[in-house]
């Protein structure tokens, strides 16, 4: 079953987001991943569902989420970090520190001193790399949320993790996640710099920035040319220069731009950030690879 992603152009491209499946949204920084994520969260909370975001790098901005229409009281935010109190339970948990040999109740040995550091009392912290710690927290938290059930959308935000750290997630983990949400109404959304779930994801979207001033891929040069010759308004269907088998739907709400002036006014820079979404793989409906572009608007602080 497909549900709206909150962006009509995206829904037209993919049919929506599939329930009970893993969807990957990949792209570099400033490609629009977080915008798509917040739109999906807004759509889910509008439907009355509860959502969860497992934020690996603690980057979610509640003000952006509220501006996007997310109902914050229906959003569970898990902020992963490097100062986690969790330690691997290697020994039985104790109500108090284990006494040193022969110490007994000798107070000189600081047996029951509460001034001891937590490492002295309960063992050393994990000495992993910070990104590994975050990843561990993300995977454990996602496991717990999937087991708990009842959420309409669970998002894993791995967007700011180094790609090499994100690639360390074993495929078996993604298989497990997919198996858990199968036949449930939960949407599992993964935001990543690159696709890492392989065949476990049912829908894979590649995002890139289509802003004429921000060349993200080979099509940007063509856009600059279009901008120089005047802005196309409305819908253009079909593109002679598009590779075979690809269909692009170009929707723009761009206002007048002086084609001779490539330096935009500051109010226009982020008001019409264009995002190109390319459908890489969809197991839900067998469609050829195609892409869509849509524009965003800036939420001005009130």
């Amino acid at each position: 079953m497909m549900v709206s992603s909150g962006i009509s152009a995206l829904d037209a491209l993919t049919g929506g987001l599939p329930r009970g499946c893993l969807t990957e949204i990949c792209g570099p920084a400033s490609s629009g991943r977080t915008t798509v994520l917040l739109a999906a969260l807004a759509a889910a909370t509008r439907r009355g569902e509860f959502c969860a975001v497992v934020d690996a790098s603690d980057t979610l901005d509640p003000h952006s989420a509220a501006a996007a229409g997310v109902e914050l009281d229906r959003l569970l935010w898990v902020r992963c970090g490097e100062d986690s109190p969790w330690r691997r339970p290697s020994t039985p948990l104790r109500a108090c520190p284990e006494p040193a040999e022969g110490a007994g109740f000798d107070t000189e040995k600081k047996f029951f001193s509460v001034n001891q550091s937590s490492e002295d009392r309960f063992g050393p912290r994990d000495t992993k790399h910070p990104s590994e710690q975050r990843l561990e927290q993300v995977l454990l938290a996602t496991d717990l949320l999937l087991e708990s059930g009842g959420f309409g959308l669970i998002a894993l935000d791995l967007g700011d993790l180094p790609p090499q750290a994100a690639r360390r997630i074993p495929l078996t983990t993604w298989f497990r996640f997919r198996r858990v949400i199968e036949h449930t109404p939960t949407i599992l959304l993964a935001i990543e710099p690159q696709a890492i779930a392989g065949s476990c994801s049912s829908l894979l979207l590649q995002l890139g920035s289509g802003n004429p001033m921000l060349p993200a891929d080979g099509s940007a040069a063509k856009r600059r040319k279009n901008a120089a010759h005047g802005v196309s308004r409305g819908v253009v269907v079909g593109d002679d220069e598009a590779p075979e088998g690809r269909k692009k739907i170009f929707i723009s709400k761009q206002s007048d731009i002086d084609p001779q002036n490539t330096e935009p006014a500051h109010a226009q820079l982020l008001t019409e950030l264009e995002i190109i979404v390319e459908l890489i793989r969809s197991r839900i409906e067998r469609k050829p690879v195609r892409s869509v572009t849509f524009a965003t608007k800036t939420a001005w602080a009130g």
Binding site: G6, P28, A29, S30, G32, T34, T35, L38, A39, G48, E49, D58, D61, P62, H63, S64, A65, A66, A68, G69, L72, D73, R74, L76, W77, V78, G81, D83, S84, P85, W86, L93, A95, C96, F105, T107, F111, F112, S113, V114, F122, Q137, A141, L144, L145, E147, S148, G150, G152, T186, L214, H266, L269, L270, L273, I275, F294, T296, K297, A299
Partner: protein, 555 residues
């Protein structure tokens, strides 16, 4: 008007066995008094057969190796008494608290609810057994007869003089009170614990009856009333009325404040959290059973652990995250250290397993720091929650499962890192706080422009860096031209486009004043080779501190 009496024989021992059921098969004796003058206060049947009797010294009793000695705990006995009252109040609203081991119920009008009188008596006995109370239940047409029957009769037959009463159920038909009570010993009339002059008077009366050869209630009932009153006075007449089962009085119902508390004192200190969990499970089951008897749930659990104080142990100022609770404990009990944790639940719940898991997770995150010698658990009662289900409602997490999940995730990432964000009424950057996430299925907010909302274009989102990344910025004509972010290599390069500055400032009248200029910039990173070299950032110049920071990226 039938009345029921619930009597717990050998109450101090019963209270100890309720807390430690594994002692049922062993001889048990309760000890009271200050060392070294401790004496045996009460014994169970097995200990009595071994020759242990009340009044013996502790050292004499310790000669018996199999004997389990336990101190009398007022808190334990009051918890048992509270359980007894809960059992009675689950059947009738009119309950009299006759003694610590005896309660009376008015059963008027309850036959249509619970069935016949024998069925009611069995139901009361079963409910008492569920609360781990070995109780005698007797039903009669007047309260005093019910009390005498509960204290003296049992299922197997009438108990002879000198034997301990056994657990049983008795229903005395109306008009046959004298016949049923006739074989009971006269000592049953003096079973109440009296002190001082009242005890002396009772002893005198009992001695007089023994001198006259009156051994049972039938003999006392047969005495002439006039002669009895001349020799024993009004008290003698009262005793005769009781023996005949003809006494009549009204109940004095007691309004008991609902206090759901359980406690246990340990023989030896506990160091590991696993045996602590075992004991907590037992206490939680008893609490939940008592709450269920009142059709109540709980939204707050308070756990207080008394810690062992080692010689020379220095009292810390703070052991846990609740210094106020700890401080009050230190003030009141100078020689004891208490560790308190309070579990606040988002919704009323009544599941002992969930509570145990939540307490375990909390203690894992906040261990007491010293061995535990006493455990006290209290629950704040609240009404059971009711929810109207629906076929077409969107899915929502189960509250109990969700609470457990949130506790586990909190143990992973930390206390203030899980929840729902709530925006604050301020323009300060990061003006939000984390509040508790509650999956309450409320009415969906009405969107005035539902169709327009669905059709709206996406809003550009900001991804924040926490904390903001310090940047070294080179200015040209007062505007940023190049920046380098030492902590993040990909944020460095020439500023291709910029918009700003936007000035934000506030709280200039307070110490927490802030003032900043914000720039939106497009940065080209020369260091990256993958082709995606341009990204959008928010650059902030702190006008008060003077530093430049990259606050986030537009994505």
């Amino acid at each position: 008007m039938p009345f029921a009496c619930i009597y717990v024989p050998n109450f101090p021992v019963a209270a100890a066995l309720r807390a430690e059921p594994e002692l049922q098969s062993r001889p048990v004796a309760m000890v009271e008094g200050r060392p070294p003058l401790e004496t045996i206060h009460a014994v169970n049947e097995k200990a009595s057969r071994m020759g242990i009797a009340p009044g013996m010294t502790k050292s004499q009793a310790e000669l018996c190796a199999e004997l389990a000695l336990r101190p009398r705990l007022p808190l334990q006995e009051s918890a048992t008494h509270a359980a007894l009252l809960d059992c009675a109040q689950s059947f009738s609203p009119c309950v009299e608290d006759t003694a610590c081991d005896t309660v009376l119920l008015d059963l008027t009008g309850l036959e249509s609810l619970f069935g016949s009188l024998p069925e009611i008596s069995r139901a009361i006995s079963n409910r008492a057994a569920a609360l781990r109370l070995a109780a005698n239940v007797a039903i009669a047409s007047n309260p005093d007869t019910a009390v005498l029957a509960a204290r003296g009769l049992c299922d197997a037959g009438l108990c002879g003089a000198g034997t301990l009463a056994r657990v049983g159920v008795s229903v005395i038909p109306a008009g046959k009170e004298a016949e049923w009570l006739g074989t009971l010993p006269v000592e049953v009339l003096f079973a109440e614990r009296l002190e001082g002059d009242q005890k002396k008077e009772a002893d005198r009366l009992l001695e007089t009856l023994h001198i006259w050869g009156i051994r049972n209630l039938r003999a006392l009932a047969a005495l002439p009333e006039v002669a009895l009153s001349e020799r024993l006075g009004q008290e003698g007449l009262r005793l005769q009325q009781l023996a005949r089962g003809a006494a009549s009085r009204t109940l004095v119902p007691v309004e008991v404040p609902l206090a759901f508390e359980e406690a246990i004192e340990l023989e030896y200190p506990i160091v590991l959290l696993e045996p602590l969990a075992f004991l907590l499970n037992r206490l939680l089951e008893q609490l939940c059973a008592r709450l269920a008897a009142h059709a109540l749930a709980t939204q707050e659990l308070r756990l207080t652990l008394e810690l062992e104080k080692a010689p020379g142990f220095k009292q810390p100022s703070v052991i846990n995250h609740q210094p106020s609770l700890l401080q009050s404990s230190i003030e009141n009990r100078q020689s004891k250290i208490c560790f308190a944790r309070t579990l606040h639940l988002p919704l009323p719940m009544l599941d002992a397993k969930i509570f145990l898991k939540l307490l375990q997770l909390d203690l894992n995150a906040h261990p007491p720091g010293a061995p535990i010698v006493k455990i006290h658990l209290a629950a704040e009662p609240s009404r059971l929650r009711s929810a109207q289900g629906g076929l077409f409602l969107p899915p929502s997490p189960e509250p109990e499962k969700l609470e457990l999940t949130l506790a586990r995730i909190t143990g992973l990432v930390g206390g203030n890192k899980v929840g729902a964000p709530e925006l604050l009424d301020t323009h300060r950057p990061e003006g939000f706080r984390m509040r508790r996430f509650v999956a309450e299925t409320t009415k969906k907010k009405e969107h005035a422009e539902t169709h327009a909302a669905e059709e709206q274009s996406a809003v550009t989102a900001l991804r924040r860096f926490r904390p903001p990344l310090r940047a070294n910025v080179i200015l040209e004509n007062g505007q940023p031209a190049r920046l380098v972010c030492p902590k993040k290599k990909e944020i460095q390069g020439h500023v291709l486009w910029k918009a700003g500055p936007w000035r934000f400032s506030s709280h200039w009248w307070e110490r927490e004043a802030w003032s900043r200029n914000e720039w939106d910039i497009a940065l080209k990173n020369d260091a990256l080779q993958n082709g995606e070299t341009i990204a959008l950032y928010r650059l902030v110049h702190d006008l008060l501190g003077g530093g430049w920071f990259v606050e986030g990226t537009y994505d």
